[in-house]
Subunit: 228 residues, 2 copies
DNA sequence: TGAAACAAGTCCTCAGACAACCTGAGAGGT
DNA sequence: ACCTCTCAGGTTGTCTGAGGACTTGTTTCA
């Protein structure tokens, strides 16, 4: 698993998260008036417009409400936005990292729990992926994600399956744009297929660590490419 | 199309709703690049910072995503369904299993990425947990979850932190009822504390595998109790 | 043909200015 | 003593101009 700090993010997002933590953490109870924009700006070391955008994001999230002339007030200390929405605006590398940790463990479980039907679905998805490798990017990405979804489903945990379903659309959209850049196909089409094939067969034959290892290597490689 | 010359509501909100209607109405399909800030500003008859705040609100809502240098893109044209609600309906053992796989990996990452501040927070949470072990069940569960949340936060991946936050309330509610049944305290109060303490110290000193192992053992034990 | 350099367009951030508005304190009248 | 009015200070709302950082497509050159 490649490491390294994960975030040279825009200042507005840093400011937003900083303020969000203060509110969610309970440092500023409901009804509290936040420090003024200028005060926050100097305190955070950013400009006033940056603070304004951060406050605007928190207002949209339903955490604060600003009243002209009066100030900005905390109106809720609990997150209420959908997780999927937050996923969509997160950095791809962060999403991918979590996806990888989920899926590697899922493969390990799948090796123990997969039914014959699961195996059949995976094999079919594998064939579809091979077929789609000649098609356009979108079709290939769809087929790839379908295979991975089948693997996750074989872990036989509905929560896990649901969770992966939250990730899928975000991954799909991002990967369609990146499939060439990441050399998921062009570089060495055979390895990708070979890796996926041996992954499926490892799961089918119950070799948990083998499956986890293959998938970890595959996903980690893409993740490092994603970070460059 | 200049916005109202009168000002019934702040201009930013008017602009936000105007753009939101365009997106939800389907005029701008997923993938569309919005006009530039200056173009939108003149088209809406407002200033650039007003447009920026409106876009920031839509980004927080998960409808658009801005990429520096490239533009602002539509990433969703529909409001999302709630993953948290599905979590609440799922079986506890399934939720707990996914939680375990996430957190074990999180501990591994945390050992590499934790800052000094993270360590301080974890140590404080550890002390709070020890203190709460004498209190009532709810307080103890809260303290325990707070410690685990601190560990996840130390992995420095916002997606992961958000995801754990989705799990936290579900876990809390269930564990409060089960804390005695599961013998999380009564059976052997010392081991739980010792395990958590050594977990934190392993993360603090960067021993990733050690940390992952401790946490895996701890969570797996509870999970097996949960299944009986 | 392929890679490197360039240029235009875009978002990101800051600083300053002014307007619109709210709040609390004080003056003045009842 | 109480109420009302006025006003000063502080706050958010908005606009503008400037420069930096990044992406993308084109052009140039080997």
């Amino acid at each position: 698993m490649p490491l390294g700090s994960l975030r040279p993010s825009p200042l507005v997002e840093q400011a937003t998260e900083h303020l969000r933590e203060q509110i969610l953490g309970g440092q500023w109870p409901v009804g509290t008036r936040l420090p003024g924009e200028t005060a926050l700006a100097t305190s955070l070391g950013v400009g006033r417009s940056t603070v304004r955008e951060a406050v605007r994001a928190l207002a949209e999230a339903g955490l604060v409400k600003s009243r002209q002339g009066a100030g900005v007030f905390v109106i809720s200390t609990e997150p209420q936005q959908d997780f999927g929405a937050r996923l969509r605006r997160a950095a791809l590398a962060e999403v991918y990292e979590v996806r990888a940790m989920l899926e590697v463990q899922a493969a390990r479980l799948a090796a123990h729990r997969r039914t014959d039907e699961d195996v059949a679905v995976m094999v079919a998805a594998l064939a579809a992926r091979r077929l789609a490798s000649g098609g356009d990017d979108a079709a290939f990405v769809d087929a790839d994600i379908a295979l991975h979804a089948a693997i996750v489903a074989a872990a036989r945990n509905p929560v896990l399956t649901d969770l992966f379903a939250e990730f899928a659309p975000v991954l799909r959209e991002a990967l369609v744009d990146l499939v060439d850049l990441l050399a998921l196909r062009a570089a060495d089409p055979a390895t990708g297929e070979a890796a996926h094939a041996s992954l499926v067969s490892a799961i089918a034959s119950g070799e948990a660590e083998e499956a986890a290892g293959i998938l970890d290597a595959e996903l980690s490689a893409t993740l490092t490419r994603l970070r460059t």
